[in-house]
Point group: C2
DNA sequence: ACACTATTTGGCTATATTGCCAAATAGTAA
DNA sequence: TTACTATTTGGCAATATAGCCAAATAGTGT
């Protein structure tokens, strides 16, 4: 693989990696309809706020979410809603695998 | 987060995680048009064959690729071509981030 | 200045992933 | 059977990720 190609796939992988965690997927899903502050997300997720904050920084670093400050709060929103399209395919994969396993059982 | 919800997002994350590596992204891209055997993929990627084989098993385990045996070879193909749709959004994110950074520089 | 709220960062340990080598396996062909 | 080819697996060291706690920071309001 050429160096250029390598760099391309690394850049792509960085974005996908940012989505590759249950908590971060949940965050993206929560931001689907409305922007939320860290405290609100933390409450939904049920982890330490510092953990959530780090997840958010991964998403932000990848360019998936964006922030704005409002008084003392930091409001996160979905900068690239197209990532929501991942869910559709992911569900298809899960469903298709489940069906295939049913067939194996017969 | 409820236990059920947790499990849902973990299952989803597993699929996305399988895509979250440059070599595996490249594999998926290579399988886009035609099925390939391990040796062919290994040559394109330029890593140890055992490494490629492990990447392939991650993809297979996630249900993204499938295999068939042909003589002594194992032919991998893209079972869920919808994962290719990831690329579109990923490119959008990269492009949008690049543009934003240009603006910051001015 | 102060106290207060919201968030981020540093530090740490535990766990997971990656990639190479060497060895094992599976299947083919003689 | 043997030799051969293609692939997978085990083992290991290096690196990366996750999540908690405690401490630091940023901004608001008094």
């Amino acid at each position: 693989m050429t160096q250029q190609n390598m760099a391309r796939y690394e850049a792509r992988a960085k974005i996908i990696k940012a989505m590759a965690h249950p908590a971060r997927l949940y965050i993206v899903d929560l931001l689907r309809h409305t922007p939320l502050c860290v405290a609100a997300l933390t409450e939904k997720i049920g982890a330490d706020m510092s953990t959530v904050s780090k997840h958010l920084s991964v998403l932000k670093n990848a360019g998936i979410v964006s922030t704005k400050k409002e008084k003392t709060q930091v409001i996160y929103s979905l900068r690239m809603p197209c990532v929501l399209d991942f869910f559709g395919c992911v569900e298809k994969v899960i469903e298709s695998t489940a069906k295939e396993q049913l067939i194996q059982l017969r």
